[in-house]
Subunit: 382 residues, 2 copies
C-alpha cells in the first residue's frame, strides 16, 4: 500500500523471521541486505546494475549528504529518490556514527554536537531536530533517530552516550513532521548486557516504527556482538522490524537472522571490491593473486551474478593488475549480489522451515568464518 | 556469413558511403564509431553497457595487451572475444603508434623496433612478423599491419617512415596465417600530399582487406587533416573499407564521412568523461561547473542514452565533486553513445540522401567546431 508503513511477519523459525515491510516506494522482503550509497551513489555501480543484482533497499548517509551536496539542494532536486534515480525504498542513517568517527574537533553537549567537516574544516552543529530536518529534506522512506555511538568497552561513556541517545530519540520523535517516512530508534549500550537491556526497553517504549541496533561491529568480538543481539532480541517487540546497522559479512547475516534481525547494511562488499577481494560462499578470494592469472573459471561457479556469468578470474585479475576501473565495478556487482542473494536464500529457507540447517551448512562451508569477518571495516561510510 | 569478410556499399552520397562489413562475429554497419578498450576493457564501462549504448565494433591495443597480460595468455583464455566477453567484432591496432609515442628508448631499424616497456622498463622487440603473431594470438576480426607513425611536419622522417611502413606492410601480408582475420594496411605520409598519394597508391596495390589512414590527428590542423583525407580518398579503391585511426570528435566523424571514411575510433569520449566533460551535439559541457549544481535537466534533453534518460546535471556534478567513480561511468556512457549514435544518424542520412544537409546542420550547431576538437588527445591509448 502506497504511503503506509506496515510490517508483517509471514513465517518464523526460532528467532528468525521472514517478513514484508511495506514502504511508500514498494514492499521490502526481509531479511534483506541494503547496499550503501554513502554519497547518493553505491560506489562504482549504476542504479540499473543494482536493480539487476536484486537490491531492494539502498542506504544513504545523512552526514555526507548534509555536507555535500547539502540536504536542501537534494530537496530542491525532488529528494533522494529522484536525485539518485532510485525508485525503490531508501534508508538514511542519522549521521551519528559519522560525526563520532569522521568529523574533526567534536564537542558534544546535551543539546547536540558541534564539529568540523572532514571535507573542508567548516564548522557545523547537529541536534536531533536538525538531523530530522535533514532527513526530511533527503526524503528517504526509513530514517534514523540521532544517536551517539560510543567505544564498545568504555562503560562510563556508554552509559552517558546511551542516556543522551534516549533523550535525543524522544526529541527526534517530537521533531518529525513527515508522515511518509518511518522513523527508527537506535539501541545503544556497548558490550554491556544491562545497558543494552535498558536501552532496548526504553527505545521500544517509544512510538518508533522500527528499531535499529547501533554500536556493534565497531571493534568488539563476534561472540560479544552475538550476546548483545540476544539480549536486545529478548526485549524488542517482535512485531516491529529490526535493523542491525553497518553489519554485513555472509556469516554476520546468518548469525544476525538467527538472533531476530531483519535488515542489514554494510560498505564491506563495495570496499572489498576496490581492494580486489571477492566475497564467496566459502570465504574470500584476493583476485590479485598470481594463481588466478590463467584461471578460466568465474569467481564462483554457483553464482548467478553478471560478473560470474560473463567473466573469468583471469580477466578480473588482468583488470586489477592493469588498474582498470572496471575491476571495481565487476567485483562490486559480485560482492553485492552475494549478500543480497544470501538474504533472499535465508528468507526462502525460513519460509520452508529449513533455516537452522541452512545456517549450519553455510557457516561450516566458510573456511575460516571468524577471521573472514572484516571487523573494523564494516560500520564506516564507504 | 560466418568466417567470411565482405564489404558492400549499400548507398552513396557524394564521397560518403553507407556500407555493411561482414565479419566472423557479425555484420558491421558503416559508418561506425568504435569505442577503445585499450587493455581489453573500455574504461569504466561493462560489455553490457556497451551493447546497450549500441556499440558494434570494439578496438583493443596490441602494444598494451602484448605487454600485459600477454598475447599468449589471451590466446590460452580463448582469445580476446572470450577474454573480454565481447561477442561482436573486435579490431586490434598494430602497436606501431604506441611504440612511437609511449615506449621508452626506441631504436628503429629496417627489421623492426627495439624498445623498453613503459610499464616496467623491460626490453622488447617488435617486427612485422612478431606483430602479426601477436594479433593472431589476440584473435580480433580486423587487424592492422605494423606501421611507423612519424611527426606530421618532418618531411624527411615521413619519407623514411613511409617506406619502412610499406616494406613492413608486405611482410605483414606474408606473415599472416589465420584466414578468419581481415588485415588492413596503413597509409602514412604526414601532411605531404605527394607522400600520402604515394602511400595510398602503394598500400592499395597490395592485397589488403581494408585500408587504414594513420598519422592523422597527431598535431596537424583540421584543414591539413581534411586535405590529406581528400588526397587519400582519390586513390583508395572505393570497394574496400577505410578506417581513419584514432579520430573521433563529432565534427571529425562528419568531416571524415564527407571524405569517404567508414570506420572511426578514439579514446576521446572515455577520456573526456574522466575529466568531467560531456560531448553533446552543440559542443562540450564541463559538468564540474558550479552553474550545474541545481540543474535538473539531463546533459542533453534530446539524447536517448541511459545517463540522459535517468540522471540530472545536478546529480552528475555532485558525483564529480564527491569524486564518485560512477561519474566516469555515466559520462562515458553518454559520450560513447553520442559518437556511436551520430555514426548511425549519418548512415541513415546517407541512406535517404540527405547527408549533405545533415552535415551542414550538424556542423553549424556546434558552437565552436574548430576549438572543440580535442586534438592531441585523440590518438593515444586510453
Amino acid at each position: 500500500m502506497k504511503n503506509k508503513f506496515t510490517f508483517e511477519i509471514v513465517s518464523n523459525q526460532g528467532r528468525a523471521r521472514a517478513g514484508i515491510l511495506n514502504t511508500p516506494h514498494g514492499p521490502l522482503l526481509t531479511p534483506l541486505f541494503a547496499p550503501v550509497g554513502t554519497q547518493a551513489a553505491v560506489k562504482a555501480t549504476t542504479a540499473a546494475q543494482l536493480k539487476e543484482l536484486g537490491a531492494s533497499l539502498i542506504l544513504a548517509n545523512t552526514y555526507h549528504l548534509y555536507l555535500r551536496p547539502g540536504d536542501e539542494l537534494v530537496a530542491e532536486m525532488g529528494g533522494l529518490h529522484a536525485f539518485m534515480n532510485w525508485d525503490g525504498p531508501i534508508l538514511t542513517d542519522s549521521g551519528g556514527y559519522q560525526v563520532f568517527s569522521l568529523a574533526d574537533s567534536r564537542r558534544i553537549d546535551e543539546e547536540g554536537v558541534t564539529f568540523k567537516s572532514h571535507i573542508d574544516g567548516s564548522l557545523h552543529r547537529l541536534t536531533p531536530e536538525k538531523v530530522i530536518s535533514i532527513e526530511e529534506n533527503l526524503g528517504a522512506d526509513i530514517i534514523m533517530a540521532f544517536d551517539e555511538c560510543a567505544s564498545p568497552y568504555d562503560r562510563d561513556y556508554n552509559e552517558r552516550a546511551m542516556k543522551r541517545t534516549h533523550a535525543w530519540a524522544e526529541r527526534c520523535l517530537r521533531a518529525k513532521t513527515r508522515r511518509d517516512q518511518a522513523l527508527f530508534g537506535i539501541v545503544q549500550g556497548g558490550v554491556f548486557p544491562d545497558l543494552r537491556r535498558e536501552s532496548a526497553t526504553f527505545i521500544s517504549s517509544l512510538n518508533f516504527e522500527g528499531h535499529a541496533i547501533g554500536g556493534l561491529s565497531v571493534g568488539e568480538t563476534k561472540a560479544e556482538m552475538h550476546a548483545m543481539l540476544e539480549v536486545v532480541d529478548e526485549v524488542l517487540p517482535t512485531q516491529k522490524p529490526r535493523y542491525l546497522m553497518g553489519v554485513g559479512t555472509p556469516q554476520d547475516l546468518i548469525n544476525g537472522v538467527l538472533r531476530g534481525v531483519d535488515i542489514f547494511d554494510c560498505v564491506l562488499p563495495t570496499r572489498l571490491a576496490r581492494h580486489h577481494a571477492a566475497m564467496t560462499r566459502t570465504g574470500r578470494l584476493n583476485l590479485m593473486n598470481a594463481g588466478f592469472a590463467r584461471d578460466p573459471n568465474p569467481i564462483d561457479d554457483q553464482c548467478a551474478c553478471y560478473t560470474c556469468r560473463q567473466f573469468s578470474r583471469a580477466y578480473l585479475r588482468h583488470l586489477i593488475v592493469a588498474r582498470e576501473i572496471l575491476a571495481g565495478t565487476l567485483l562490486s556487482i559480485h560482492n553485492l549480489f552475494t549478500l543480497v542473494n544470501l538474504a533472499k536464500e535465508i528468507r526462502q529457507a525460513i519460509s520452508v522451515g529449513i533455516f537452522d540447517q541452512f545456517a549450519a551448512d553455510y557457516l561450516s562451508r566458510l573456511e575460516d568464518p571468524e577471521n573472514n569477518d572484516g571487523a573494523g571495516l564494516s560500520r564506516e561510510a564507504d
